[in-house]
Subunit: 361 residues, 2 copies
């Protein structure tokens, strides 16, 4: 039986003032008005049944995540975030405890995916490759620009109708190297979406990160308890030992080292929505290149991203390439090319003893 | 007895979203946190007693103006704005009806005046020149830049210790002409502040705008009624005939034509606060040239004007030379060099059927 692990623990500070503590990116309606986590779950309809979709989030986000998810998945929580390798390992244990030993999709809850039909076909192919060849499969995204914000995957020999062996993983490159990668045609972006049998992942952790696997194995009884309906026991076990696991990404812990990694080139439109600029790429632009949503106007302006939330209008007049977002947390104004630095806005508020949640002084 | 007429009928759309219909510029706390009209009245303390300060405003602004003014002046209202010549003429009639035939100061309610002591000394000098020489006196402001947004006054021969004859009034010049004016040292900006005996003004109107004077004369009984305490009768008379008066500025109607105009060079810091940029000139700048007030931050930014009103913070990050104002009416973002076009923001909202008062759609 196949399963899915939805990673929904991120903080998403880059979307301030729409994102705030307690309402991070995956809980925001950034998918054409739909909440990203909801959209992520809906994309699995027909692929993985609700009872084998595991949404992993932080204890602090449990209440809003449970409310949002309802009966469309099962929610498990980490007492503290330890990056993606412990999360994926925990997901594998939980899946096995529920009897799901077929391929598991591991999907971030906060990405943009366009073209649902292509996505589903690609997931079916990845499930098959993971099961038929006992592989650690990742979706590679064909680059359309020399992006320096993503890792890259170099493909090797064809493995089946859709998959290739992975020749190498490459860290985020500089601009010149990124341009070479794009030029070569052999590289794709590392999407952070993975497919493997739970056993295949655990074996890889044992081969490349044995201490982490040992720590995870100790949580096996907790996963069994959870599967038997004893969530309280599961939470107590994690409270006691999850924080002691090594905080490491699944890319670094296993993918970059594994000999059985495979890549499938995604045929759908993808973006990790790392910033307001990334968000804007997937929304309708006016004839002047502005993306304007909500109670907002961009007049005599070009290349601006303007979101007006709330009861008072936002007017951007005569501006170029600005991000202007008014939301419950406050109002942000910054140039588009500073979009990656939005979390600094929160730091500035913190430095003044002000809250980024939008309360009065 | 001397008197003062405070012109408080302006709309002040250039300060949206802080200014709004019903709360124009003169009612905003733009004078270092003090409301401009209040600051204008306080500057007259010791010069003109409260009972001979006449605040002229629109019927639509009567309630907030009366509340603000309290017992510090007497409020009269126009049913419709007809520019400054009918307003000044009406003020002259009202002053005479109350027995005040000494010099009258005519002062816009929405200007910046720095250095109170110098202002008061200049007003005393202007009162004396108006009375001793039967003149139409105006304050000229020594230009510190080749401003093209103001009219200029060319001074002639010295008249007394402070005043000069006016050689000519000049309309708003182009940049080259403005530079010549500044270079010559003989020109000052037309501040729009005037001093004259009521009779001197009415005589000048009779000489240069006889139809307007005739229309005003017909309001003489109304002014008498008002002085006798019958404001209702005054209002009815103005309703019937004030709107028929020619809409014309006092500069154009009399000052540019009069042979008895005089200019006193102001010794105080002055600005007509025509825009957010003008406002910023008179407020404290941080080391990066930003003016930041309220619940607001300008981080890694320079030359920005940032006002955060309300309960949610405004963060400007990595920007240059922007105006960002969050207030009850909404949020404005525009480059500093577009500050003169802020009223377009209101037009854009109107075009969408949205309100510039900040209500939800």
């Amino acid at each position: 039986m196949r399963s899915a692990l939805i990673l929904a623990g991120g903080r998403g500070e880059r979307f301030w003032p729409l994102s705030r503590p307690g309402r991070p990116k995956q809980l925001l309606p950034l998918a054409g008005g739909k909440v990203l986590l909801t959209a992520t779950l809906e994309r699995l309809d027909g692929l993985v049944p609700a009872e084998r979709r595991f949404v992993l989030t932080g204890r602090d986000l449990e209440a809003p995540v449970r409310e949002l998810v309802g009966s469309s998945a099962r929610v498990i929580t980490e007492p503290v975030g330890r990056n993606t390798a412990p999360a994926a390992g925990l997901g594998a244990l939980v899946a096995l405890a529920t009897g799901a030993d077929g391929a598991m999709a591991v999907l971030p809850a906060d990405h943009h995916v366009g073209d649902l039909g292509s996505f589903r076909a690609d997931v079916e192919a990845a499930f098959a490759t993971a099961e038929d060849h006992d592989r650690l499969v990742t979706f590679g995204v064909r680059p359309d620009r020399a992006e320096t914000g993503y890792g890259y995957i170099e493909k090797g020999a064809p493995l089946d109708a859709r998959a290739f062996d992975v020749k190498s993983f490459r860290e985020k490159p500089d601009a010149a190297t990124a341009a070479q990668y794009v030029q070569s045609g052999n590289f794709s972006w590392n999407s952070g979406m993975f497919f493997w049998r739970p056993r295949t992942l655990l074996d890889a952790l044992g081969a490349h990160r044995p201490a982490l696997l040992a720590g995870l194995r100790a949580l096996g009884p907790a996963a069994q308890a959870w599967a038997a309906g004893d969530a309280a026991s599961f939470d107590r076990s994690l409270d006691a030992s999850f924080g002691a696991l090594e905080s490491i990404s699944v890319d670094y812990a296993v993918m970059e080292k594994a000999r059985n990694a495979a890549v499938i080139e995604a045929s759908f439109d993808w973006d990790d929505l790392g910033s307001w600029t990334a968000w804007a790429r997937h929304h309708v632009h006016d004839e002047s290149g502005n993306v304007v949503e909500g109670f907002a106007v961009a007049a005599q302006s070009s290349g601006c991203v303007v979101l007006g939330g709330g009861e008072r209008p936002v007017v951007v007049l005569g501006a170029r390439d600005l991000i202007v977002v008014q939301a419950e947390g406050g109002t942000l104004v910054c140039p588009r090319d500073r979009a990656d630095e939005v979390r600094k806005a929160i730091a500035e508020l913190d430095a003044r003893g002000w809250t980024s949640e939008g309360a009065a002084r």
